[in-house]
């Protein structure tokens, strides 16, 4: 099967950090950020483009004009509009992403934007604001994680961050039910398979990134790095480098590291490849888009079932085993 296109027509995609878009000024205070399948390097012809105008600087009324200009360009490229929840296609200010973690002001939308910025985002054009905001977010999670620096167990896993990834995963699962109701079942099947595959991969990659804060150092290095919060920059830089990888790359990296996971690796990556292939097939994707819940119960009606079931079993096994490696 032909691999899916890495980027939509109209975007000149070089290395993952080097997408180009022919509009918008360069600015050290603004970054155009893409998430979703484009952020994960899994873009297919049927994908929408989840994008945001990230602003980390003085507010300027002209930002709205830029927003509309970018939206106009993206509308001509994307196969379909962004989701109706209003999470994307908007101006996003760094203040909320960095300062509102937990509490009443950390809305579903804010959490989604923040964690997707870490887990599945890429920047178009200048990355100054993007990089600054990612570091600001990581700074919050790491420096305020008392257990990371002073915990007695010896496990150097940023639990504050890990818990937020877990919270976000649960939010996605609950939001699935919300959307099922809100959209009267429309698009149920495709959202279901995405939840089981790409959304779960997102969660797993977040967990693995947290575990790598422990696993990527030997005992002597851990003692040195985590003995002093002044060393937090080392961990921020390390985590930032991990999050530059796509969720699949993060998962694959761990799978490659441990030979006893070879069997799981083949199943997981094989199933995920099949999943992306299904979404890249316009006919199958269209079928999933229109499949009703009662139709899915008929045998053979949803080829995706075998891929999802296989992957689900592997994810569970993988997640447990990986946790066992650390604990």
């Amino acid at each position: 099967m032909e691999p899916p296109s890495r980027c939509p027509r109209g975007l000149d995609c070089g290395p993952t950090e080097d997408y180009r878009l022919d509009c918008g000024p360069d600015s050290e205070d603004i970054s155009i950020v893409v998430s979703g399948s484009l952020g994960r390097d899994e873009f297919t012809s049927g994908s929408d483009i989840d994008w945001s105008l990230l602003i980390d600087g003085s507010a300027d009324p002209k930002h709205y004009d830029l927003l509309r200009q970018i939206g106009g360009v993206i509308d001509t490229i994307a196969a379909k509009p962004t989701g109706p929840e209003g999470t994307f296609g908007r101006m996003v200010f760094s203040h909320g992403l960095i300062h509102e973690i937990g509490g009443d002001d950390d809305t579903n939308r804010n959490t989604t934007r923040r964690l997707l910025l870490l887990l599945e985002s890429r920047v178009v054009r200048r990355a100054d604001a993007y990089s600054r905001v990612v570091r600001g977010i990581l700074d919050r999670y790491l420096l305020e994680d008392r257990g990371l620096w002073k915990g007695s167990t010896g496990h150097r896993v940023p639990r504050f961050l890990q818990n937020d990834f877990a919270r976000y995963w649960r939010t996605m699962t609950v939001d699935f039910a919300y959307k099922l109701r809100n959209r009267a079942g429309k698009g149920w099947a495709i959202r279901n398979i995405k939840l089981r595959m790409s959304r779960k991969l997102l969660y797993v990659s977040g967990l693995l990134a947290c575990y790598r804060c422990h696993l990527d150092y030997d005992e002597a290095e851990r003692l040195k790095v985590y003995s002093d919060p002044d060393m937090k920059s080392e961990v921020i830089e390390h985590l930032q480098s991990i999050f530059r990888e796509s969720p699949l790359e993060i998962a694959a990296g761990i799978l490659l590291r441990y030979p006893h996971l070879d069997g799981s690796a083949r199943k997981i990556l094989g199933a995920y490849n099949e999943f992306v292939g299904i979404l890249a097939d316009d006919q199958q994707r269209s079928r999933l888009d229109n499949l009703k819940e009662n139709e899915a119960e008929r045998p053979g009606s949803m080829r995706a079932n075998s891929a999802t079931n296989s992957a689900m079993a592997c994810w569970s096994s993988f997640s447990t085993r990986q946790a066992a490696c650390v604990i």
Partner: protein, 236 residues
């Protein structure tokens, strides 16, 4: 205690004599003679023999931050003689056109990291490319620029880890969202404290905070709070 002083440009723009007058009687040990604009350099160099700089243990010169390309040779000639043998010359990497010229001045050249507006010289990675061209140059760490680029101070940490051995002096100020130098705020004091331990006590501090004469002592006190001296310095 860290040797501390001011850039003349921060106190009085191109009027270096006025800046020296403002500093008379103050507890300062360092001085940067600033000729940030091309037209300021020659008057400054001509005035140096008549300036009383005896009270300063450390003096440096800040070359123009930008200049016409066809003037670079003349600038080099102005600085290459007496000045380069006496004092470090602080240079903005984005202003350099002919690296071969400045390479000849070796450790007299002191490269400064840039603010976020500039195309190069802002990060450890970008600075490494510059120091490849000027391997003997020393380093002026502008802590305000580094914080403006990355308020978490991770980039500052990376820069100091990579180039701490080349440290010749520090520029200290807050750099605001308009990329202008400003007095230290509470947030910048907290931020600078995070990397203070990576800066050896002997490295001269040059304040680029624009303060009136009556606030000089107060600003120096803030900088000392922002960059305390720890007994044990962790190697950069």
């Amino acid at each position: 205690m860290r040797p501390i002083g001011f850039s003349t440009g921060a106190l009085a723009y191109g009027d270096f004599r006025e800046a020296l007058r403002m500093l008379a009687g103050k507890d300062v040990q360092t001085l940067e003679l600033s000729a940030l604009r091309q037209c300021e350099l020659v008057p400054l160099l001509q005035a140096i023999p008549s300036l009383d700089l005896s009270g300063f243990a450390y003096v440096s010169i800040h070359a123009p931050s930008q200049f016409e390309p066809n003037w670079e040779g003349a600038l080099w000639e102005q600085l290459a003689g007496d000045v380069a043998t006496r004092w470090p010359i602080v240079l903005h990497p984005d202003a350099i056109i002919d690296f071969g010229l400045w390479r000849e001045l070796g450790a007299s050249i002191c490269i400064e990291n840039m603010d976020k507006r500039k195309p190069i010289g802002r990060t450890a990675r970008e600075l490494s490319e510059i120091f490849k061209q000027l391997p003997d140059a020393t380093f002026c760490f502008d802590i305000g620029h580094a914080r403006q680029f990355d308020p978490t101070m991770t980039e500052a940490w990376l820069i100091l880890r990579e180039f701490g051995s080349k440290l010749r002096q520090l520029h200290v100020s807050e750099v605001n969202t308009r990329s202008k130098h400003d007095c230290l705020s509470y947030a910048s004091i907290l931020a600078f404290q995070e990397v203070a331990h990576l800066i050896p006590e002997s490295v001269p501090l040059i304040l680029e905070t624009p303060v009136p004469e009556w606030d000089i002592d107060a600003e120096i006190a803030k900088v000392r709070e922002a960059l305390p001296v720890k007994k044990k310095t962790i190697a950069a």
